[in-house]
């Protein structure tokens, strides 16, 4: 997709937050913001939808709990119900206190690990992944806002960004996928 983008670099996170708000108010479309550290309130200012990763984690936890219950019910109660130290292995609930540590741990295990994997997949992070960094300084002390030019006037847009306090503004043309 041949498209023009403008990269505006800021040197301060307060300035960045303000600039992002002004840019959104002026109805320019921000396609990406690169920061060296989490800027509190940035997701809200850019207008990102809240994450649903906590909900996925809850569901994974329930799956983990079910796995634990089904596994132990099959092994300890159904398949080979031995008398081990006099523990009542007749039904699951009678012997449940002994199973709870495992039920708890597997719930946490599934909730945590599957959530992390979900996070990696949704964020497209994996080993040997090519870094998508438009400017190396954004990992150190600079903040970069990427704005779609679309059919806006480049001159006017540049002037606008300059007024928001951008220290460097560059036009990126025909950028292919990263």
């Amino acid at each position: 997709m041949a498209s023009k983008k403008i990269h505006a670099i800021y040197t301060d996170d307060d300035l960045l937050l303000q600039a992002v708000k002004q840019t959104r108010e002026a109805n320019y479309h921000i396609s990406e913001v690169f920061t060296p550290f989490p800027v509190h309130g940035l997701d809200h200012a850019v207008g990102l939808a809240p994450t649903r990763i906590a909900i996925t984690s809850f569901i994974y936890g329930l799956i983990g709990l079910s796995v634990a219950v089904l596994m132990m019910n099959y092994m300890m109660i159904q398949d080979w119900p031995q008398n081990i130290g006099g523990k009542p292995s007749f039904t699951y609930y009678q012997n449940m206190p002994a199973f709870i540590p495992i039920m708890f741990e597997l719930t946490v295990f599934f909730a945590a690990h599957l959530m992390v994997v979900t996070f990696y997949m949704r964020s497209k992070i994996w080993p040997f992944k090519k870094a998508e960094n438009p400017d190396v300084r954004t990992t150190d002390d600079h903040f970069l806002v990427e704005i779609d030019v679309e059919n806006h006037d480049v001159e006017k847009l540049t002037k606008f960004l300059y007024d928001t306090g951008a220290s460097e503004i560059s036009l990126i043309e025909n950028e292919q996928d990263h």
Binding site: A54, G86, Q94, P97, A98, I100
Partner: protein, 458 residues
Amino acid sequence: MYTLPRNLKLFSIVLIVLGLAGIIFGFLTTPKTIDDVKEIMAEQEGHHGEEHAVVTHGEENTANFVDEARGQEGYSDAAMEHATDLKPEGHGVASHEEHVLHQLQTRPWSATFVAAFFFMMIALGALVFYAIQYASSAGWSPVLYRIIEGITSYLLPGSVIVFLIVVFAGTHFYPWQNHELVADDKILQGKAGYLNFPFFLIRAVIYILGWNLYRYFSRKNSLAQAEANNYEPHRKNFKASVFFLIFFLLTEATMSWDWFMSMTPHWYSTLFAWYIFASMFVSAITVIALVTIHLKNMGLVPFVSDKHLHDLAKFMFAFSIFWTYLWFGQFMLIWYANIPEEVTYFIIRIQEYKVLFFGMLILNFVMPILVLMNSDYKRIPWFVVIAAVFILVGHYIDIFLLVMPSTVGHNWSFGIPEIAAFLFFMGLFIFIVGTGLGKVSLRPKNDPYIKESENYHF
């Protein structure tokens, strides 16, 4: 300024009067002699036949106990027999009727104690929460200081009542206070260095003095800070809070051994004190949240935002889980090892109080988890109120199960004495906390963290 609304005031007074009448009724209607007991038992058997015969005949009941799982008699039989022998009347010539008489006479005492302690521990837990906020220099909570102080104003009357009950209950609660029993019992003789009445009394005095002194001085300093032009009162409060927390940690442990664990003096558990603390702390935070919601609804605390409510709800959620963790830690270790000396405690609770014992887990664990898990729900007042009702009912049952099985055993029921005691102390609590809240402005001025707290968000 807050004034207790007229109808709430009237409501609390009605509760106090009704409750007091019920408590007195409970004490007056206990059987006085063995003949009364025989009459009651004959009546019960006449009315209900087989069904109740089991309940009233405690000895048969224990004899019938078999390890249902294995269908054979196990350790637990001996243990149960042993446990009934713990009662002063279980020995020698004493008859079964005498045993039942003792338990029936104990019932109004226990009913009053359960409710008295339940409301006292809310005030005490709130005081601990308050001390923790000071000691940790919390930035979010100073807006709640006046509200918490209002709740802790119940501590003085509440702890005095609890003190009087445990001191005058005598052998109703504490078998080790029966000299004849101790004379026959090697184990109790071994514990007599700690479990003797003068020392018991001294300890109880130290507890309530220490707690109430901290409450008095922290409140005084907190009010002085509003007038002061330096931070000296706050510094004093910081120091006082640190020492109070150390003092509380020690006295809370011995308090729970004294007042609860020594009801079954042959039984002991290491994490018992923390378990009672967890119950105390989560109920207190729940009541702080409820009172905050009440004041917010009246428009009196505009500086308390839904972020503060969110934090309180997080505490309710987290400490519900903490309580469950300790409950399970205690239960599972004892269930797993199944040592006769220890397991009696749970056998009587599971056999005679099954619904309450396991129902309390649903109220104290499952419901708060489901209701308060979602982050958005923690900011919706009526969601928090629903969770609060579950938690408070659950922890009332928790205290009920600490006391009743140890004192009245299988002769328990939930009737006029229990309900009346609960109503009486609830009325007293509402009345005193309402008056306590109304004494000063609800906005703490001049606190070093108050500005941060008012602008608190995350």
